[in-house]
């Protein structure tokens, strides 16, 4: 039978199916190669998965919809470099599921907000932004001072492990992490010790300024304070990361 254009036009189901095939070609051609091209993820030291406390903070970040106003991707432009710091690397979000890149900046980019401001500042700012930044339009999040629920943090890590994040459960996985990240980080990635690690980090860091309580503020500030701090850029020369593009 001779193919007729008409048979597609009068058959809505077929039209939709073929349209999707055509459209997906563009995406496939652009995205799929990134999974096997060597240079996609830069060779860089220091990037590790989130600790249990940071992971809970990240979940709260998403729960509160921070990503609606804040991106976490500094683009390689002069103005962004001057304002936010070194441009973001693919390597830095390799353990992010889902990534928080975004392009909608109602608030500033947060990709390198870590260690820029003090914990106290973050606590004051998150509770009542205008107390520290009069011109801010950010809403306050005073309820973050409520106790943090962390009984399920192990399950959360297991879910991420399923997507490929190297959290460890078996001795073998743990040993692999020791080789890859070193003893200290490998310990923090151990799902079996997750709750203990979480409490310990909150105690040591005292992110919310109140050691007596373990709050959601602890988790969120711990997360914010590590954003963009894993890579020590002074170890790499100016042109190093361009070699991967």
């Amino acid at each position: 039978m001779k193919f007729k254009h008409e048979s597609i036009e009068i058959n809505a189901g077929l039209l939709i199916a073929l349209t999707m095939v055509v459209i997906s070609i563009g995406g496939l051609v652009e995205i799929v190669p990134l999974y096997y091209i060597n240079d996609t993820i830069e060779q860089v030291d220091g990037v590790r998965p989130y600790t249990p406390l940071e992971l809970r903070g990240r979940d709260i970040y998403q729960r509160e919809g921070c990503y609606l106003c804040h991106s976490q991707m500094i683009r390689p432009f002069r103005d962004e470099m001057l304002r936010y710091g070194h441009y973001s690397l693919a390597a830095e979000s390799q353990y992010d599921h889902p990534f928080q890149w975004g392009s909608k900046r109602t608030g500033p980019d947060l990709a390198r907000v870590g260690e820029k401001y003090s914990n106290e500042w973050h606590v004051a700012h998150l509770s009542d932004p205008r107390a520290v930044v009069p011109e801010s339009i950010m809403p306050g999040y005073p309820w973050l001072m409520q106790p943090l629920e962390y009984a399920d943090v192990g399950d959360r890590m297991r879910a991420l492990k399923f997507t490929g994040v190297p959290y460890s459960e078996t001795q073998q996985e743990y040993d692999a992490n020791v080789t890859k990240f070193g003893q200290g980080v490998a310990d923090s990635l151990n799902i079996l010790r997750a709750e203990k690690n979480l409490v310990q980090q909150a105690q040591t860091g005292n992110y919310d300024g109140d050691r007596a309580r373990l709050t959601e503020m602890d988790a969120l500030v711990a997360y914010l304070q590590m954003l963009g701090t894993l890579v020590d850029f002074s170890k790499y020369d100016e042109g190093y990361f361009a070699e991967f593009r």
Binding site: E6, I10, E238
Partner: protein, 308 residues
Amino acid sequence: MSEAKTKQQGAVQTTGHAWDGDIQEFNNPLPRWWLWGFYASVVFAVLYWVIYPAWPVGKGYTTGLFNNITYTVNGEERSRHWNTRSLLVKDMQTGDEALKTKEYMQKVAAADYRQILADPDMMAFVRSVTKGLFGDNCAACHGSGGAGVMGLFPNLADDDWLWGGSVEDIQNTITLGHTGYMPGFARTFSDEQLDDVAHFVLSLSGHEVPADKVARGKQLFTGEGGGCYYCHTAAGTGMKSQGSANLTDNIWTIADVQGQTELTGKVDAVKTVIRNGVNRVMPTWQGRLDENQIKLLSVYVHELGGGQ
């Protein structure tokens, strides 16, 4: 020509499809120039593939030809195929804005503080370029306008300076940092004594307070019992070398005296500070900021409101 003309004026072509019995679809030919435009865009795409990174090949990709970007790293010239990161490196080194900023920077670096402060043009540059530096490094504590936070971080916009308000003093503070320490007197003073000292301190800045308490407080302040005068001096004017506050003026950075309307509140505020002491740290920025950045910040902070 006549044939073409009949075509132009003749019946309209349709695709031959009909819906609902009478809805037809025109099948007008495209103008030739449009078709050429289409071919041209195909040619453009092919040229683009040649010049820019385009096709994935195995574990790499075609990098594009004739389109290298050259820049300097550690004094040695490097060249990469076209990519935005190399473009950025180049832009940061030799872009129009980079050169313009560099030129101004050199001018500022070569000038001394007196020259910078007297030149409106240089001052305008310092104010605009340093705003970002201040916002990145200082505003987290001191606020984006330098107003500080009562009880925690000093106000940089007023004319009272713990560690000195000349540009040189400010540069020194930024470079080396400071630790502002006052011991707590909870164990040294009884509550009554605390009350007396607080009254005396308030009297220094012209507050109307009972004279008997002032007299007792003064004894503790200037005597060995409290030893406050070691740092604050007997007159209470403070010492730049210790970073001790001038207690005789109207500015309070730790005890929120101004925020209180009643005298008892003011006394309590001062008492709390004497009881608990003060421990504040201004970090050192040497190593984190280069010499010129510190110079810019010194001028900027000096200009925030009350530089001496």
